[in-house]
């Protein structure tokens, strides 16, 4: 039962400065699958994920979404995709709820305030709803960003080390969230240096850069 690939990369190459990070990268990802991008620090994982989002453009090759280059189908692609990078993308002066409200507005959905609040509560931020993000702890800010991901309702999630700063409960929560998303037919491309237990879902791995290099 091979489902057709939804997201695929063809002969992708990436260079930063005058260093070539990878060349000839291929992969294909179908609905319900998770792609775990692996590699040590500085091997080019973040660079790869940014290529996949379309924020930067590859030195060679192309990324396709449902068989079309993402450059050509940008609008659809960005409607279907949500990205969480090393930076949280939340405004320090706004409360978590306000942050989610504007994120929804900017990606063009209706904002569902009760849903947003319940998501934040589910992520353990019940006591922080009225605080500006500036005073939140490191892990709490990461949680706000994760809440934004959940409320975005995207099909494809591109997550760059989503577990950064999360405590053990947080990690377990993210695992269950990922499992739900995949079971509902979502796609995930992610990186992490931490161990993750994801049984019962289809996980592919992709190695970036040389393995022995730090």
């Amino acid at each position: 039962m091979d489902s057709p690939p939804v997201l695929s990369a063809h002969d992708l190459a990436c260079a930063r400065g005058d260093r070539s990070l990878f060349v000839g990268m291929h992969f294909a990802l179908a609905a319900g699958e998770l792609l775990m991008v692996q590699g040590g620090n500085g091997q080019g994982k973040t660079s790869l994920l940014r290529l996949l989002t379309g924020l930067s453009s590859p030195a060679a090759g192309e990324v396709q979404w449902r068989g079309r280059a993402i450059g050509q189908t940008r609008e659809t692609f960005h409607r279907d995709m949500a990205y969480l990078g090393h930076a949280n993308g939340i405004k320090e002066d706004l409360t978590p709820v306000e942050n989610l409200r504007f994120q929804a507005g900017l990606s063009g959905h209706a904002f569902d305030e009760p849903l947003a609040e319940s998501t934040l509560r589910k992520l353990g931020l019940a006591r922080c709803l009225d605080l500006p993000a500036r005073v939140l702890s490191f892990g709490q800010r990461r949680r706000v960003a994760l809440a934004g991901l959940l409320t975005a309702g995207a099909l494809l999630w591109i997550l760059d080390e989503p577990l950064t700063g999360l405590d053990v409960h947080g990690v377990a929560l993210v695992e269950s969230i990922l499992r739900d998303h995949l079971n509902r037919g979502g796609l995930v491309v992610m990186t992490t240096h931490q161990a993750l237990t994801l049984d019962g879902v289809a996980v592919r791995t992709l190695q970036v850069g040389r393995q022995e290099d730090a």
Binding site: E75, T76, H78, Y83
Partner: protein
């Protein structure tokens, strides 16, 4: 489309409201620059009247320069600019919305205090009218072109000063037409010619600048 534009604008307005100090700085600077000239030059009314349009316009330009470096920088740093560029809506709307928000925050207050400054310099009422009109047409140009500069210098060191170097030459026509309109009014030759040039320049910037800012934003994110 429109919803996206409005969200961008509302978001910036809310953020500005949370940090009131920022825009007060620009206003205060504007008033201060303008008020300092009588102190430095002396109280001759005729002289002051002569330099008033130029001084007000230069002060408006400088006040907009003060605020521009942060137009995209904060969003860039905390990653929300990335998120906005990943929106399904076109980046040109983002650039436009940012420029509009900038104008609402920094341009409108200038329009409001300008008549007071005009009175300080003993400008006749109709000249004050032209002054406000010229600022109303001209300050959006400053915001639109300024957004281009802000996008180009995003993430570079020495942001504010470099930005100034890049966009002051672009501001020059607005300055000349704007101050020229009031001068012409004072000289009795009628301000229409200058104002319509200013208007044309405004329309041109409105059409061209957001595209260039959007392209520059994409380039800066690479």
């Amino acid at each position: 489309m429109l919803g996206f534009l409005l969200t961008v604008i509302r978001r910036d307005l809310l953020l500005a409201a949370r940090r009131r100090g920022d825009w007060l700085t620009a206003q205060f600077f504007f008033v201060m620059v303008v008020s300092l000239f009588p102190l430095g030059i002396g109280p001759e009314p005729e002289l002051l009247k002569r330099i008033a349009p130029g001084v007000v316009w230069v002060a408006a330009t400088l006040a907009s320069l003060l605020s521009l470096p942060r137009l995209f920088a904060d969003d860039h740093r905390d990653g929300s600019l990335e998120q906005m560029l990943l929106s399904p809506e076109p980046a040109v709307l983002l650039a436009l919305g940012k420029a509009v928000a900038h104008w609402l925050i920094y341009g409108i207050p200038l329009l409001i205090v300008a008549p007071v400054l005009g009175i300080q310099f003993a400008l006749p009422a109709e000249a004050i009218g032209v002054l406000v009109l010229s600022l109303a047409l001209g300050t959006p140009i400053l915001s639109l072109l300024g957004a281009v500069g802000a996008a180009l210098t995003l993430g570079l060191r020495g942001g504010g000063v470099l930005l100034t170097l890049l966009i002051l030459p672009l501001y020059v026509p607005a300055l000349i037409f704007g101050a020229g309109a009031v001068d012409a009014m004072l000289a009795g030759t009628g301000a229409e010619a200058n104002l319509s040039l200013l208007g044309a320049f405004f329309v041109l910037s409105l059409i061209v600048a957001p595209w260039i800012s959007a392209a520059a934003l994409r380039v800066s994110m690479e």
